[in-house]
């Protein structure tokens, strides 16, 4: 079975996505959970580029533009997320995610 380059790229991004997902699910350190989510975002960006490069209508350049926006928003997300981590740390002196549950009902 021969795989087209597009399928290879998609497999690559799915693998990265799942690594991020497993990391986010299994680790208790909030920073690592955030990094896992960051990985999942990156995997999505890879899909955009892959479809832009090998997809049916590459000339539009939409994929590239979308990835640029996505990177900008991801940077914002990382900044806020890590600021939250620091704020949480200041309150409860650790950053274990399962202990940050004061908002539960």
């Amino acid at each position: 079975m021969s795989l087209s380059p597009l399928q290879l790229c998609l497999l690559f991004s799915s693998a990265l996505f799942c690594v991020g997902l497993i990391g986010a699910l299994s680790r208790s350190n909030t920073i690592l959970v955030l990094l896992g989510i960051e990985l999942m975002l990156n995997a999505a960006n890879i899909n955009f580029i892959a479809f832009w490069r090998f997809g049916p209508a590459p000339a539009a350049g939409t994929g590239v533009v979308f990835v640029l926006f996505s990177i900008a928003v991801a940077a914002a997300e990382a900044a806020v997320g890590l600021a939250l981590v620091i704020a949480v740390y200041r309150h409860q002196k650790n950053i274990r995610l399962q202990e940050a549950n004061r908002l539960k009902g």
């Binding site: 380059p5 790229c9 497993i22 350190n29 960006n45 990177i71 914002a76 806020v80 740390y89």
Partner: protein, 172 residues
């Protein structure tokens, strides 16, 4: 060509996997920087140079620094960046769920009708074209992103800043 892609993909995924498995937070963060650089290499391979440089600057340059700062600021003892071991049951659950998602995604990709398309010419997009795209059709989105970034900047500072009066009370 494909070989280069396979090498990049392997190194990137391996770096991510090891980063997620390591106990030492600093090592994890550094490996993730490596992983991001690998993704930038993928963009370069795919011909999206500008995105590759954005990725390098934003992730490898900026986000990595923020992450490292966060790691350093949230360690109580500077000697040890080691984590408590995570609970085994959750790790197993995570692996099961992640594996299920992986299986579904792989199945979907492999069974899809994305037939090997005829080798089309590599699409290129110059920085100039990209600029006119951003300032033309996508101008509204660009403005919104600008606002989001500003709000984020202010928000992050406010969330992370100490409340002087309150912390003073706590310490006294």
């Amino acid at each position: 060509m494909t070989l280069a892609f396979l090498a990049i993909a392997f190194v990137t995924v391996a770096a991510a996997a090891v980063a997620m498995a390591l106990r030492n937070l600093i090592h994890s963060a550094l490996l993730l920087v490596f992983n991001w650089a690998g993704i930038a290499a993928f963009y370069l391979w795919a011909g999206a140079e500008f995105v590759a440089f954005s990725q390098l600057m934003v992730y490898v340059g900026a986000v990595s620094m923020v992450v490292l700062f966060a790691v350093l600021l949230t360690q109580r003892s500077p000697q040890s960046f080691r984590e408590q071991p995570d609970s085994i049951s959750r790790v197993i659950g995570a692996l099961l769920v992640g594996g299920a998602v992986l299986g579904v995604l792989f199945g979907a990709v492999l069974s899809s009708r994305l037939a090997p398309s005829a080798a089309t010419a590599t699409p290129t997009i110059s920085v100039k074209e990209l600029g006119s795209l951003l300032m033309g059709p996508h101008a509204a989105a660009l403005l919104i992103v600008g606002v989001i970034l500003t709000v984020t900047l202010i928000g992050a500072v406010i969330i992370a800043s100490t409340d002087h009066a309150e912390s003073g009370k706590d310490e006294s």
